[in-house]
Symmetry: C2
Subunit: 180 residues, 2 copies
């Protein structure tokens, strides 16, 4: 009788994009699920949220999940294009190090679509590097609006989040534990 | 000078629907974020997944999150309509108890759209009960495809997840830590 071989894990590239809510939130859910399986998780945030994302940062700290937020006080689309590019390159260098050498099972690049969309990083070079250097078993999760075509083509799973109804339209303030 | 009053929390009703991946996952992300803030969380799953959802169940156990999975071996659309209705009613009664009296900050009704869509529960009665009995500060999260109109009208925030690309289309097996 033939023995069933244990199937090696295949790392998926997952992209959550679109204008609706739930992209970063879904990435967090994947992190929680993976953590439940005892996997090693890393999150790199390419946008510093105004609200600091304290809910997830506190949770990550308590769970032992590696968490990087790029650029103290850094916001995209500053008046200084050279600075934007430099910050994007620094962030991408950190992401590359964590992906290639961090020993993680899952890495989230949160809001990573923006530096590609705005042209601070070259999509062709980024995807080329990932194809050559991402460990085959590593799950990679990328979030953000306006995903460039190269990223959509590279990803295994792409979900577009569409806003059907948003409470801010109705004058409801952002809520702790939900929005941040 | 007028004193700024601390704004009371307003519980949001959040609906993740559509055919794309990431609905339950986004609900899990909200739970993780809320847990990071020290909020009390409860999840009621209306569909028993084939794969058991072990990643999130293990995580919930370690995090002290209340977790209910309805019906051992129960699947929807059995040959027995009366049994489907009875199971749906049992699940809804449990959800009602947790929402009205559980003392939670956030309650997730995972895959709750289905019993409404299939008609096992009356959408008008369910939404009417929620409007009358959900504590104003409680965040309620509902996931699943085919959300009925009553649910969309009731929700504050509705995101539709659309499948752009799915790895199963390319013959990739479901991956532990990602799909379950």
């Amino acid at each position: 009788m033939e023995r069933t071989q244990s199937r090696p894990r295949q790392g998926l590239v997952i992209l959550y994009t679109g204008k609706g809510k739930g992209k970063t939130t879904a990435a967090l859910g994947l992190v929680l699920r993976a953590w439940g399986h005892g996997m090693r998780c890393c999150v790199v945030q390419f946008i510093k949220s105004e609200r600091g994302r304290w809910g997830e940062r506190l949770a990550a700290q308590r769970l032992g999940i590696a968490w990087h937020t790029l650029g103290a006080g850094f916001t995209w689309r500053s008046q200084d294009l050279a600075q934007d590019r430099r910050k994007a390159e620094e962030g991408w260098a950190l992401a590359q190090a964590e992906i290639a050498g961090g020993g993680y099972d899952i890495v989230v690049l949160d809001e990573f679509t923006y530096p590609l969309h705005f042209g601070w990083l070259d999509p062709h070079a980024v995807v080329g590097w990932l194809q050559a250097n991402k460990p085959p078993e590593l799950h990679l999760v990328i979030t953000g609006r306006d995903a460039v075509d190269e990223l959509v083509a590279y990803a295994d799973l792409v979900t577009e989040m569409t806003e059907v109804k948003h409470p801010f339209q109705q004058g409801v303030a952002a809520q702790r534990g939900i929005e941040f």
